[in-house]
Symmetry: C2
Subunit: 129 residues, 2 copies
DNA sequence: GATAAAGCTTCCAGCTACCGGAAGGTCAAG
DNA sequence: CTTGACCTTCCGGTAGCTGGAAGCTTTATC
């Protein structure tokens, strides 16, 4: 299967698929004409990657998950640990974003938003107490 | 004022301050020995940038905010619009992260997390229905 | 059979917002 | 006078791609 078809099946752009070969995540065979030739297994891996990436796992985490995916003797605890770590990471980001949101909302709420120059947002950014 | 002192006052690393000069955000004078020489105004701008960046504004947004900061005739509405847009952006990120978190929590909750290979997380990533 | 369009190849550059490190000049202290 | 702290520039790397150029091959159309 050529890269275009693999792209369609995995819902990944060809550029990304080539990149995944560059970083040795999915290494397809080559046809005689030099075209990449993706097997069903390759496409499974691509789909796996697409899904894992969309869930926020980094490439390195994907690499690890992929090796577990293909390890018949994996311990599900190892997979779960990665997922839980990712959840904690998300929680940290959530807290930070909520804090930012609160600060910005507060600032915006104090700003008249008219055509006059006086602006509490700018004042805050400038460090005016 | 040398870059080290400016760094301390603005709470930005020297590397970052040099970078801000590269991208023409804050362009200090030069002393005779070639050292960067930061004025009080420069340091104000650096502090402004430090604060705006920490609130999640991109460099380009900071550039815009900085120009408003220094525009005597600015309309506070312009500043407020940027802040509100940033809040919307944060809201979008929050929703996405919450959705990811829910999915991952669900997956992890269904995984035994033992030493056996059977793993619903992997199954999901693999696309098994 | 000619031609054009689509699809493939490689390689190089760029995106964000810096950070690390090398090689070397300058300055203040002991 | 030397040591160490500070400064300079420049180069490369980070994450995860994306865009584009130059040049094949294959497919579709006339």
């Amino acid at each position: 299967m050529n890269i275009g078809a693999a792209a369609e099946q995995s819902n990944l752009p060809p550029k990304t698929i080539r990149y995944y070969e560059d970083i040795e995540l999915v290494r397809p065979a080559r046809s005689e004409n030099g075209y990449r030739d993706y097997s069903e297994t390759d496409v499974h891996r691509l789909k796996f990657l697409q899904r894992a990436r969309s869930l926020g796992f980094t490439i390195d985490e994907c690499r690890l998950l992929l090796s577990l995916y293909e390890d018949e003797h994996r311990a599900s605890a190892d997979v779960k640990a990665i997922a839980l770590a990712k959840i904690e990471e998300i929680d940290r980001k959530l807290i930070e974003l909520q804090s930012l949101r609160a600060t910005l909302t507060n600032l915006a709420g104090n700003c008249h938003g008219d055509d006059k120059p006086n602006c509490p947002i700018i004042d805050d950014l400038a460090g005016d107490k």
